[in-house]
């Protein structure tokens, strides 16, 4: 597997009035192409700083960063590497098509190509109905989806995402996850910082855990969480019957990790309700 991102002894520190603060301690990473890598960590752990360094927006204090065998600030990477920062989009008085047209022009895409891709992404991300509305009037979820469309417009080889699903409803989040899976399958390397652990667990091939600017853990989910085990979820048994089932499982060589009373997931409820028509209104 080819290396998409290579980081050697990368360190970033910021000067403050109180002195120097290390945002990233010397870090070494080799990330393969065509994978989805999640970055986890508490606030202030260095996730965004790492993404900004990879995007060429932050000059590291020391160390070497290479993306696709080029230095992070190489102008050629503007199109090959896309970065979706967290927060609102700029130029909020443009409409969604205008914003994408601007991004396409800055990436050097021919107008026809840019417009065709923009149209396709707007439809896929369900933004085609936004029309001439100003981007700043969009909800945060709509802005997130438009941001993803802008990031994908240049068909980059590496996609850096900072909180790609924050502010999105579960359906929108699902659409984004699906798109990321498809892009990764097509060979795109995706590095995403997120606080949504379930999503990271669902989509990422590999996870980096940062804390205090230090890489505390790295590996696949199986490596970090233990090997996958088949599980059995039952409903309709009373306490005694459950005890018997547990004994039977133990007798067969299995291990009962926990027994708990569990409700259906909220996500399942949300999805079910979203698919049902509202009373008195056509869906």
């Amino acid at each position: 597997m080819a290396t998409a991102i290579s980081v050697q002894q990368l360190a970033v520190s910021f000067r403050t009035r109180q002195g120097s603060v290390a945002a990233l301690q010397p870090l070494d990473l080799e990330l393969g192409a065509g994978r989805i890598i999640g970055i986890l960590g508490p606030n202030g752990s260095g996730k965004t700083t790492l993404l900004r360094v990879l995007a060429g927006l932050q000059t590291p204090t020391s160390g070497r960063v290479q993306l696709l065998d080029r230095q992070a600030n190489d102008p050629a990477l503007r199109r090959l590497v896309a970065f979706q920062p967290d927060g609102p989009l700029p130029l909020g008085v443009l409409s969604a098509p205008e914003f994408l047209a601007y991004v396409g022009a800055q990436l050097g895409l021919p107008n026809a190509v840019s417009d065709a891709r923009a149209q396709a992404w707007l439809e896929r991300l369900e933004l085609q109905h936004a029309g001439r509305r100003w981007v700043r009037t969009f909800s945060s979820g709509m802005q997130k989806r438009l941001a993803l469309a802008a990031a994908l417009l240049g068909e980059p080889s590496i996609l850096l995402l900072d909180e790609p699903t924050s502010g999105l409803d579960p359906i929108g989040s699902g659409v984004v996850m699906q798109i990321l899976r498809e892009r990764a399958a097509a060979g795109m390397t995706i590095l995403m910082a997120s606080h949504h652990l379930l999503e990271v667990e669902e989509i990422c091939d590999e996870v980096l855990v940062l804390q205090g600017g230090v890489l505390r853990a790295r590996g696949t989910l199986a490596e970090l969480l233990g090997t996958d085990a088949d599980s059995l979820v039952v409903r309709g048994l009373d306490h005694d019957q459950l005890q018997q089932l547990a004994q039977a499982a133990t007798a067969l060589g299995g291990e009962v990790l926990r027994t708990e009373r569990q409700r259906d997931h909220l996500f399942a409820l949300f999805r079910r309700l979203a698919n049902e028509p509202v009373r008195g209104q056509p869906k």
Binding site: L89, P90, L94
Partner: protein
Amino acid sequence: MSRRATRHPTIFTLQRCLRTAALPALAAAVVAFTLAMWTEPMVASAAAATGARAPWLSLPIFVCAFSCVVTTVLFWPLLAARRPGADWLRRLQRGPLHGCGAALSGALLASLLVCAPLCTVYAAALGAPSIARTHTLVPAPAEPLLSARRPQLHFALAAPLLGNELRLRPLASLPEGPLRASRVRVMADGAPLATTTAEFDQTGQIVRIPFVSRTISALELVLEDGTVPLFFPTGSVELIGASEQSGLANGLFLALLAQIPLFVALAFACLAGAVAALPTVLAVAVGVLFVMTVGGEGPLTAALQGRLQGHWLLTTSVFRQCVPSLLLGSTAMIGAMMLRRRSRR
């Protein structure tokens, strides 16, 4: 979808500034014109002194520049530090200023489009003449006092000029004896310029001496009679060029000059924005704009008056007045580039 030109930050900013500046500038022009007409009877000989209406011309121009400054700083996130969405533009926009220059150009273009009708049509409505002439200030001699003890003053022009009118506006001292108006004969290159003499008995009195068009390289003022000593500093002797220039072109040139305060204000916004947040940047930009328009620093105030008085503005002296402001703005832009490069580290 739009064509490539309409995808450029210059065009976005231009459209945005036009939307926000055109109506307020128009409203300011209507208000200013009404006030100009209303206050005119209070000013003595106002009909002749069109230059006195310069503040009414400067008001809508200031309103336009103010709207453009505020709109541009709010619209382009990289004109102030720590604005949301700045990282997007920092990656997308090439160049050391990451599109700030393009946004500035858009604002200047929008302001020019709004100022053009103000400086031509509106200025004409305020009384600006439909033709303009070159007004050359004749440099004063070392001791510019014309009196009984020194009855001749010699003025040398930097280069020969074709003119057809001379304006004299000396400062008068206390009379040296019983008051008798001083009569001054004007000689040009050794020959009398006019058949009559000019008479002065009070300070700041303006006398116009029309003559048949001729090229003049030196002037001589000869005191023929009178007891009022006259002081002729630079600016008190003005030679009016013979050739007539278009008032419309003069207005358009004024519209160009009116962009200088906006350019300097936005250049300072660009400089401050490398390190300062939005409120500071806005304060700096509006402050600079205020000083350069209402405060009278820079070439605009004189140019507004010149336009209303029919002075042709496309001259080296006007250009010379613009140089310090242009240098100041350019230095701020260069400083902004250096500061932004440094602050990325």
